[in-house]
Symmetry: C2
Subunit: 313 residues, 2 copies
Amino acid sequence: MKSIKIFAPATVANLSCGFDVLGCCLDNVGDEMVISITADPGVKITKIEGANLPMETHKNVAGVAVEAFLKAYGENIGVAIEIYKKIKAGSGIGSSAASSSGAVWAVNHLLGNPFTTHELVKFAMEGEKLASGNAHADNVAPALLGGFTLVRSYDPLDIIKLHSPEDLVMTVIHPQIEVKTSDSRSVIKHKVTLKKAIHQWGNLGGFVAGLFTEDYDLIGRSLDDVIIEPLRSILIPEFNNVKNAAIAKGALGSGISGSGPSIFALSKGMKVANDVATAIQDIYEKTGIDFDIHISKINSKGIKIIEETEYRK
Amino acid sequence: MKSIKIFAPATVANLSCGFDVLGCCLDNVGDEMVISITADPGVKITKIEGANLPMETHKNVAGVAVEAFLKAYGENIGVAIEIYKKIKAGSGIGSSAASSSGAVWAVNHLLGNPFTTHELVKFAMEGEKLASGNAHADNVAPALLGGFTLVRSYDPLDIIKLHSPEDLVMTVIHPQIEVKTSDSRSVIKHKVTLKKAIHQWGNLGGFVAGLFTEDYDLIGRSLDDVIIEPLRSILIPEFNNVKNAAIAKGALGSGISGSGPSIFALSKGMKVANDVATAIQDIYEKTGIDFDIHISKINSKGIKIIEETEYRK
């Protein structure tokens, strides 16, 4: 039995000016998974630790993602999936995307990479569809490809890996409150003014240019979302205080991670990212709301192999 | 008397997915200007050839741009401006921007560059304000800086020079019809759907990434404007036929230059750009509408010195 143990990273999507298109991959926040090729055909979830998630394959995001993979692969082989969940569900840092991406990446690896990593995105998106009703790619793309990714288009699916400057560090605070998906969706308006849309695409262009030229200052100036953040941030306690404190401590910019409630701050260098963490921790400690804080470099690789066993019985 | 003769390039602005923010600079289409520092204080337009434009300084885009420059410079020196106009007014390839950009660049050069080229943009924008009532930067920025430029923000003004891959060639057809500014403005809607806005900024991100990675295919896939082009193209005869013919001949993409009526097609390599020119010429010859066709590499320098005379009397 071929088996692999992997690290499946958390991700920050809907990154400020890049709503619905831009995401990035974290380095030290993520799940562990053990994926094995077994003798019995069919996909089985054999173990889940750290979260109360469905063991039934068709109800589990990793299960449906691997089933989509195998359908395209054309052979009904046996796959066993163990999930050691560390990313909390509903945190806004791509918990479901880590599971579905990790599972398809591992199976692809164990089978000798019949698909490119880019091609795996559409299989992992089936997991997102199960999780949220919407086959979005902005978490699975960075989880699989690493670094910063751009979903240029869904039809046809076109994912672009962007350059990731070495010194960028994310500080993410996850307030342990529930923001209902229905609420975070309902506050978004169907129409926007052309003026704001132009402002937004100017900033997205600036952000992408900043990544490629490693112009940290430009990256910071471009982290400005005039469309979604003003609407969704009202659902997140202390959002403005956290954002202002992060920027006061030297962060390049700050915004909502995914559809919240997590808030990210992007900084140049670990020292600033640590200072930012201390400042936002101070704010949240006064609220009485439980929270986690993560400080992570950008993971430019995506999924990582922890251990590989050729013929484990 | 110090004097300089310059080439002031034409530009393609509102470049497809980059409406209001993205422009590029042409290499062999442009005006010539002779700018001199004179003994008599004050800005004078001393000669205009090739167009019927105002000789009064405050009514001439080059005149007001230089006056804005001198106001910031703080000395009321004498400047004489000769304009040899080759870019037709109302063509949609930055005729006024060439004059205002060329004039301020030349005066800055003659005075030993007291301002950076980036700083000149705001002076040249005064010329655009006179020409169109709107101090836009998307033509003057590429005319001054060369290559592809992004207007990330107007307040504060933030112009980003992007990378310009060597093999890009523009084919531009200028149908000699008048499209009234009021018409090209009135067809634009004040509000857009969020879905289309996301599509647009995904493409702008892809275009910028394509420039930096020299991925010509990605540049082509990203040249897709779902917001402005469908509305404004109805004002331009044969727009869809020209666009389709250009792409059929191998162009990476095609769209409206500025607010029209010119149509651009961007190609990889001179051979394709020539084939595109032939194909769209065939279409326009059947219409009975007079037209010019330009084929030009991207000018990554901007304004160019033709001749410099230290002490011409």
